[in-house]
């Protein structure tokens, strides 16, 4: 399968690849000549960022990025404990009362970039049978405004407004968290919009391209599904969580509205539930402890709404139908090599589409990071999704199957406690059967033949910085 996957890559015409490599090389040289600091980023911003790294904390506590991040934005064990403690070191100086009045808990992150996207079998007006579409050029990510910190000792807040490339604003996160209830790390309550307690965090992972910057495990839905749930989407609700003193043992349970993080109660009146449990072990001489964890999500989506003039009234959804996701994941260290496997199983109620049966599918992925130094890492990921039961028995069983592979590196020219910048290179490729890729590249239209395999590729070189 992998061989076929790679063979598909070779069928791509070489011209764009060559031009991409040349452009990458020029940018690297330009960066080196400029002393490791890009002067090109001042006026750019835009399209919403997906991941978080928060230099405001580094400035507050005087710690380098590498203290909390394996390579930012991925958290290491120390950073995970810091986050679990409500972004507090626990030195009796966490309250803003102890900070200079000039301290302002804000950081901004954006990523000027050059990227190339190529997707096969895309239906257009001129080619209704489908053709390969390529899109390339210099581009911008969005801007994340990361405001996170403490309101008082053991009261944490988070606020992440976003600005998209087209000027659209959003609210990625907004929550308050009461930490160490009863002086116990085992009891913390968070209310608002926040990232689910995913051990393999999509908000803090090190992939940025259109095809590499998300996990199928967190976003895949069968063809024709009416469900809108994504594990990787921030959700609105309340989370009760806890951890041991060193955060080696962690758990969380959450009750969430059935809106996939959309404010304004557009969905129904039921509640979703999520749990996670993980345990770390201090084994081996790697960069961190070995952690294994399990997770589960039981959700509902309404199938009937009150209407007015035929239009659904938000928040009145009833006749809920359920879906679930369960899985296991791990974070393993072999010296400087980090392995992140994940397996998951998913099922939707038949009423959520598209046919009389309950669509069921499985996912597995393995991500690997080699963290040569705190300033350089190379990474790879392979992920596969396989349908086991189609909602509509008339459709081919392989409809929706997906394979994704990604390779990349991140180089940090400097490592200080005020800000951070990374030169990011990435190549990602997906093969989806009968469906457009989740990246939305190309025309985003499913091929006419459900057995058609659509290849989508991304090549990206970016300057990822946060201040």
């Amino acid at each position: 399968m992998v061989r076929g996957f790679l063979r598909g890559a070779g069928s791509v015409q070489g011209s764009w690849l060559v031009s991409g490599v040349v452009t990458c090389t020029c940018l690297v040289v330009a960066m080196a000549v400029s002393g490791g600091r890009s002067r090109a980023y001042t006026a750019y911003s835009l399209a919403v960022h997906k991941t978080e790294a928060i230099p405001a904390f580094a400035r507050k506590y005087g710690l380098r990025c590498s203290a909390c991040h394996t390579v930012w934005p991925e958290l290491n064990a120390f950073g995970q404990r810091f986050k679990d403690n409500g972004y507090q070191l626990g030195n009796d100086r966490d309250s803003p009362m102890w900070q200079s009045p000039a301290y302002w808990p804000i950081a901004m992150r954006t990523t000027p970039q050059w990227h190339l996207e190529s997707t096969t079998h895309q239906i257009t007006d001129a080619a209704p049978a489908g053709k390969t579409l390529r899109q390339t050029g210099f581009d911008l990510s969005g801007v994340d405004f990361l405001l996170l910190g403490t309101l008082h000792k053991n009261i944490t807040f988070g606020l992440v407004p976003t600005l998209d490339a087209d000027g659209t604003t959003g609210l990625e996160a907004a929550f308050v968290r009461f930490d160490n209830l009863g002086q116990s790390p085992w009891a913390n309550l968070k209310v608002g919009k926040f990232e689910l307690d995913n051990l393999l965090s999509e908000k803090r992972f090190t992939w940025l391209s259109n095809n590499g910057g998300f996990l199928y495990a967190y976003h895949f839905l069968p063809s024709g599904s009416a469900n809108n749930f994504g594990f990787g989407d921030n959700q609105i609700g309340a989370e009760f969580s806890g951890h041991s003193f060193n955060s080696y043992t962690r758990y969380s349970v959450a009750l969430l509205t059935t809106d996939d993080g959309e404010p304004g109660l557009p969905g129904g009146k039921s509640m979703d539930a999520m749990f996670t449990l993980s345990q770390a072990f201090a084994l081996g001489g790697g960069l961190g402890p070995q952690r294994v964890g399990v997770f589960g999500y039981l959700g509902h989506r309404p199938t009937t709404f009150e209407t007015v003039s035929g239009t659904a009234i938000p928040g009145t959804g009833t006749d809920n139908k359920s879906f679930y996701r369960i899985g296991a994941t791990a974070q393993l260290w072999l010296g400087n090599l980090e392995l992140l496997p994940l397996v998951s199983h998913a099922q939707d109620d038949a009423a959520l589409g598209p046919g009389p049966d309950k669509p069921t599918w499985n996912n597995a992925l393995l991500e690997a990071h080699y963290v040569a130094t705190p300033r350089f890492m190379v990474q790879g990921r392979y992920e596969l999704t396989r349908m086991s039961t189609q909602g509509d028995p008339a459709t081919p069983k392989s409809l929706g199957d997906a394979d994704a592979i990604a390779l990349g590196f991140r180089y940090y020219p400097f490592m200080i406690s005020r800000d951070g910048m990374a030169l990011h290179g990435e190549f990602a490729m997906t093969r989806t059967t009968g469906m457009a890729p989740l990246s939305g590249d190309g025309s985003g239209v499913d091929p006419a033949d459900p057995a058609t395999k659509v290849w989508s590729r991304s090549l990206l070189l970016a300057f990822d910085f946060a201040f």
Partner: protein, 284 residues
């Protein structure tokens, strides 16, 4: 002697010398914490990742953050450490350094690194010991003996209060333990940098731990590199425990000592003499 024989002899001599040097260096670059052995080469990248921003690449407390930190980070090249189980003026044990790293230092920028694996922390201890030649020429002191703690009582607390007056602890820590004694503003550390005495009223933990034994150790070993001396030659172990019990009443915590003290104060507050230049301490 044939040329090749001479060459082999010279090479062998160099080999022995290099081996001896290597062994010596290897011994100096290890730490031993329980069953865990730390290795300096493995500790170096961890030190650069977690510690160098404050303590500096060379361990000389000249990291890029040091200028913004109060109190300043420890200068490992001097091999002078606050929190030890060993007498004042001696090197700490590996376990002392390991515990300090694990625990962090309350009211400072030094966080608890408890989330790192024990092996990682042991490796960093081994690497920290490479910054000063003292670790090659000297050995850690012998840990002090800590007698069992007597049960706290009002007599013990009142005697501790007398000692707080008599030993002039109040001159730095203030009559009520707020760290605002008359000498507080003049204190400097061993690098002539200003240093603040501990404020018992705002901290939930002590600088070198959370238990009464940890506080006892501070009296009897001192905080080297700071104006806090060792009282090992001035007070008896039982008196040190009395002082511990009294200082517990100054913290904003619900400790057994605080409960005893509050109950006694309810009916005896007028008997107390104030602590300070004219004070009598114990109220007798």
């Amino acid at each position: 002697m044939r040329p090749h024989t001479r060459w082999m002899a010279v090479a062998s001599g160099w080999g022995v010398l290099l081996f001896a040097a290597g062994v010596t260096r290897a011994v100096a670059q290890e730490s031993h914490i329980g069953s865990v052995t730390g290795h300096a080469p493995a500790g170096r990248p961890l030190y650069e990742r977690y510690c160098a921003g404050c303590h500096g690449d060379d361990g000389d407390a000249r990291g890029e953050n040091a200028q913004w930190i109060d109190p300043r980070p420890r200068d490992f090249t001097m091999a002078v450490f606050k929190c030890r189980s060993t007498p004042t003026g001696t090197l700490p044990t590996d376990e002392d350094l390991f515990n300090a790293m694990t625990r962090g230092f309350v009211t400072t920028n030094m966080p608890p690194w408890v989330a790192l694996t024990p092996q990682g922390r042991a490796d960093m201890v081994a690497y920290i010991k490479t910054f000063s030649p003292k670790w090659k020429t000297g050995k850690p002191g012998t840990p002090i003996t800590i007698p069992p703690e007597p049960a706290p009582s009002i007599e013990s607390i009142r005697h501790g209060r007398e000692l707080f007056q008599k030993m002039e602890c109040w001159k730095c820590h203030g009559p009520t333990g707020h760290g605002d004694g008359p000498s507080a503003a003049t204190l400097t550390d061993n690098k002539d940098l200003p240093i603040h005495p501990y404020d018992f009223s705002s901290g939930s933990r002590f600088m070198c731990g959370v238990t009464n034994r940890d506080l006892y150790k501070i009296f009897m070993t001192g905080l080297d590199g700071t104006p806090m001396p060792s009282f090992a030659d001035d007070i008896k172990p039982a008196e040190a425990w009395d002082l511990v019990h009294f200082l517990r009443t100054l913290q904003p915590l619900d400790t057994p000592e605080a409960a005893i003290w509050k109950a006694w104060l309810a009916s005896h507050a007028r008997e107390l003499k104030p602590i300070g230049p004219e004070g009598g301490g114990g109220g007798r």
